[in-house]
């Protein structure tokens, strides 16, 4: 949503913008088609890698609602992933629901949690909000890890394994892919509507938004709940895919960081940003691990990449992609110029 340099109200600029959007849309469209037919060629490894990537992209799209559009630095979204995973697993194991019904139960549980927690926590701002969400996610994870009678505790939950769809790579690939597309569609849909405008207004100035008749509490809680929906669905799919749920796995803070990174890398507050960011991030770390001779230093390299992105282009690559900015040295240095002391 950030802007710079050229003004965009001349007819030429407008038509250029439309043209650029068409190119971008075309590229993304071609890419989506490519991904849709990919399973015909790809190995099991790449299917798994891309499935994980899609789940990450879906979570990033969800994070984008609260973090990118509404401007609340939520650092606990993994809680929704974990609750989605547990909700799905428990309804399959205890209630013997079929997978898709269980998935909805898991996602609904995540959303319910988001609403209950969001009402008090979304009153906080800045760092306080960020850490309150970290604390909640960690706390919920520990409860799941400890509450042996209900969640199975640290021993975790084991899902039945031998269903044919679990043995096929296609099922989880496509369901995760559909989730990503659903997220893109949902984002586009919302951002054309009043709810989307209310998020942007809250991000830019919450007091002004309030005074202009926006029920900010409601808008924020909806944003939070929709991020929970995306993460909860991803969590439920993940649980059935991996066939077991361990609290230490599904509540780990790395997932939160990954979704934020993906969003920030792509461009927070843009429709395609989280998806593109997830792609860049996940392919990058996969390549780092497998194909570059960096030995045990790949995490260090990942850290250095984050540092470089934060210093040079914290608005994400979407600015360059959409043509809002030119990729020049001075554009890269602009961030330092405006934010240094």
């Amino acid at each position: 949503m950030k802007k710079s340099g050229e003004l965009q109200n001349s007819p030429q600029a407008a038509s250029k913008k439309v043209a650029r959007q068409k190119v971008l849309l075309g590229l993304v469209g071609a890419f989506v088609v490519l991904l849709a037919v990919l399973p015909l060629f790809a190995s099991g490894f790449w299917m798994r890698t891309l499935t994980l990537l899609f789940l990450l992209a879906a979570m990033a799209e969800g994070w984008n609602f609260i973090g990118g559009y509404t401007g609340y630095a939520a650092f606990g979204n993994v809680a929704f992933f974990g609750i989605g995973a547990y909700g799905t697993a428990l309804s399959m194991l205890r209630l013997h629901f079929p997978f898709f019904l269980a998935l909805l139960v898991g996602a609904a549980a995540a959303m319910l949690f988001a609403v209950l927690v969001g009402l008090p926590v979304l009153r906080l701002k800045g760092h306080y909000f960020a850490i309150a969400t970290v604390a909640l996610a960690t706390g919920v994870g520990e409860v799941a890890d400890f509450w042996t009678d209900f969640t199975g505790g640290a021993a975790g939950l084991t899902l039945p394994f031998f269903h044919p769809i679990q043995l096929s790579n296609y099922f989880f690939y496509y369901i995760a892919f559909v989730l990503v597309l659903f997220g893109l569609g949902l984002t586009y849909f919302i951002m054309k509507r009043k709810l989307g405008y209310s998020w942007l207004a809250i991000r830019e100035d919450e007091d002004a938004a309030k005074m202009m008749g926006i029920n900010t509490t409601w808008s924020k809680v909806v944003a939070f709940a929709l991020s929970a929906l995306m993460a909860g669905l991803a969590g439920g799919i993940y649980a059935y895919w991996n066939t077991f749920v361990l609290a230490e796995e599904v509540f780990k803070i790395e997932y939160t960081l990954q979704m934020i990174l993906a969003t920030v890398l792509g461009g927070p507050g843009t429709v395609f940003g989280p998806f593109i960011g997830a792609f860049i991030y996940y392919i990058l770390i996969t390549l780092l691990v497998f194909f570059l001779p960096v030995g045990q230093l790949h995490a260090t390299i990942l850290g250095l990449i984050i540092i470089l992105v934060m210093v040079f282009t914290p608005q994400g690559v979407m600015d360059f992609l959409s043509g809002r900015k030119r990729l020049t040295l001075s554009a890269l240095l602009e961030n330092i110029r405006t934010h240094k002391v």
Partner: protein
């Protein structure tokens, strides 16, 4: 509830609060004055612990005596990082500095693991584990020493911030950056010094921790979270607030550890969220290193 558990618990909590205050105070000044949540704080604590470990292992330097050295080392590390990295983006949105320090933590921890391996290490001077008893209550010398040094350093910090020119400049920067600039404070320098000071205190905390607890490259994360909890409990921006927060947190941790060890962190975290919601400025309210 046995009375032994109770009294020993109280003693443990008080002794622990000293180290925790030192853990949190550096984090608190960086947050209060630079408005940065330094996720890498725990990594600095880890580095401090390793300085002490290596000095002890290689040269037999007593861990308590190595504290100044680990503070100096971390001071330099902190200064360089702030001056040449964080200062570049310090006015960017919260998320940027948050992720930047997070990435720093990844880099530091992974380099440490690369060079020193993931081994658990312990500093074991001859007097480790020794202590005295009052009634049935055991008081280890090491923890008592750590408590005393924490209080001493906290006191010194207070004196520094209140009575020295540099300290005043730092506080002025925290209160009103424009006013400070008008008074001739060099902001970039002042920021770097603040961060360096925070890192040095983290280094000292790391040294003290290494004497009582085993250390490894990933030890820091838990301390970053605790530092945050303490700052929130005690209120951001005042030394007494941090100490109060540390004491409160130590009691929560010790007693939930006795009665529900598996939920220790969860209890502390839910208390945190509760406090945030009820009193967002912390129990001690907001002072600003006045």
């Amino acid at each position: 509830m046995g009375s032994l558990e109770l009294t020993q618990g109280v003693v443990n909590a008080i002794l622990l609060s000293g180290t925790l205050a030192l853990v949190a105070i550096g984090f608190s000044i960086v947050w209060g004055i630079l408005n940065i949540i330094n996720i890498a704080h725990g990594a600095f604590i880890m580095l401090g612990a390793y300085v002490t470990y290596w000095l002890f292992t290689l040269f037999g330097i007593d861990p308590f005596l190595s504290i100044p050295l680990s503070m100096i080392t971390l001071f330099i590390v902190g200064y360089v990082i702030q001056r040449y990295l964080i200062n570049l983006v310090i006015r960017a949105p919260l998320l940027v500095t948050f992720l930047l320090t997070f990435a720093l933590e990844i880099v530091i921890i992974n380099l440490a693991t690369f060079f020193w391996k993931g081994d658990l290490r312990s500093v074991t001077p001859a007097y480790s584990g020794a202590g005295f008893t009052i009634g049935a209550v055991q008081i280890p010398y090491v923890r008592l020493g750590a408590f005393a040094i924490s209080l001493l350093l906290t006191g010194l910090l207070h004196v520094f911030l209140t009575y020295t020119k540099t300290g005043n400049a730092i506080r002025a920067t925290g209160m009103d950056i424009d006013a400070a600039r008008l008074q001739g404070v060099k902001i970039a320098q002042s920021y770097a010094l603040t961060f360096a000071l925070g890192s040095a205190l983290a280094g000292a905390a790391g040294s003290l921790i290494s004497i009582s607890f085993p250390i490894d490259p990933t030890m820091g994360g838990a301390y970053t979270l605790r530092a945050f909890l303490i700052c929130v409990l005690g209120g951001l921006g005042s030394i007494p607030g941090v100490m109060l927060g540390a004491l409160l947190y130590a009691f929560i941790e010790v007693f939930s550890g006795i009665y529900a060890p598996g939920l220790k962190d969860a209890i502390a975290l839910f208390v945190l969220v509760f406090v945030l919601i009820v009193r967002p400025t912390g129990i001690a309210g907001k002072a600003f290193y006045h």
